[in-house]
Amino acid sequence: SAVISQKPSRDICQRGTSLTIQCQVDSQVTMMFWYRQQPGQSLTLIATANQGSEATYESGFVIDKFPISRPNLTFSTLTVSNMSPEDSSIYLCSVPQGTEAFFGQGTRLTVV
């Protein structure tokens, strides 16, 4: 099974600032996904991080707000830009391996 490390595990940020979340996988994977879990809600896919090309964003999410990097097959970053309290959520990266999807522990973001 894939081992996924996310950093930071949690952070409290001021509104208007940006936070970059890192996701490191212990093996090479073609696709990596970024999800958001707002308080008391389910997970929503933000985007697919593609190695060597721009990320593919889901409806309601834009690159200016959530820029993503994927410099190689084991690493990706998600930046939450110009944060507002509505961005307070858990952000998770996920990778498919074999016949299932594995998730990182998540980054709990609080915007004040």
């Binding site: 696709m31 996904f33 809600q41 389910s42 997970l43 929503t44 498919p96 299932e100 999807a101």
Partner: protein, 113 residues
């Protein structure tokens, strides 16, 4: 477009009682189905999955789910729950091998002594 519906936001049960967590999906194409569990302050863990073959799938900790194509359902059941089963349970679907998942809203299982 695909969607997943978990009708029960919270299910309280007593320890050793049976439980069923309901999941219905909508899709015009074949789907892969998953149940994930999120224990308090922990990450998501795969509980069980249906990809093909037998419509009844089981987990190592006594949960089972049955894929019912005609009813587009994938309900999760356990004949006797433990306090340690208290967690949030998410049903999810994927329509291809990318395992890009669409999640239901989750059901909080609360097991009481």
């Amino acid at each position: 477009a695909q969607s997943v519906t978990q009708l029960d936001s919270q299910v309280p049960v007593f320890e050793e009682a049976p439980v069923e967590l309901r999941c219905n999906y909508s899709s015009s194409v074949s789907v892969y189905l998953f149940w994930y569990v999120q224990y308090p302050n922990q990450g998501l863990q795969l509980l069980l999955k249906y990809l093909s073959g037998s419509t009844l799938v089981e987990s190592i900790n006594g949960f089972e789910a049955e894929f019912n194509k005609s009813q587009t359902s994938f309900h999760l059941r356990k004949p006797s729950v433990h306090i340690s089963d208290t967690a949030e349970y998410f049903c999810a679907v994927s329509t291809d091998s990318s395992y890009k998942l669409i999640f239901g809203s989750g059901t909080r299982l609360l097991v009481r002594p």
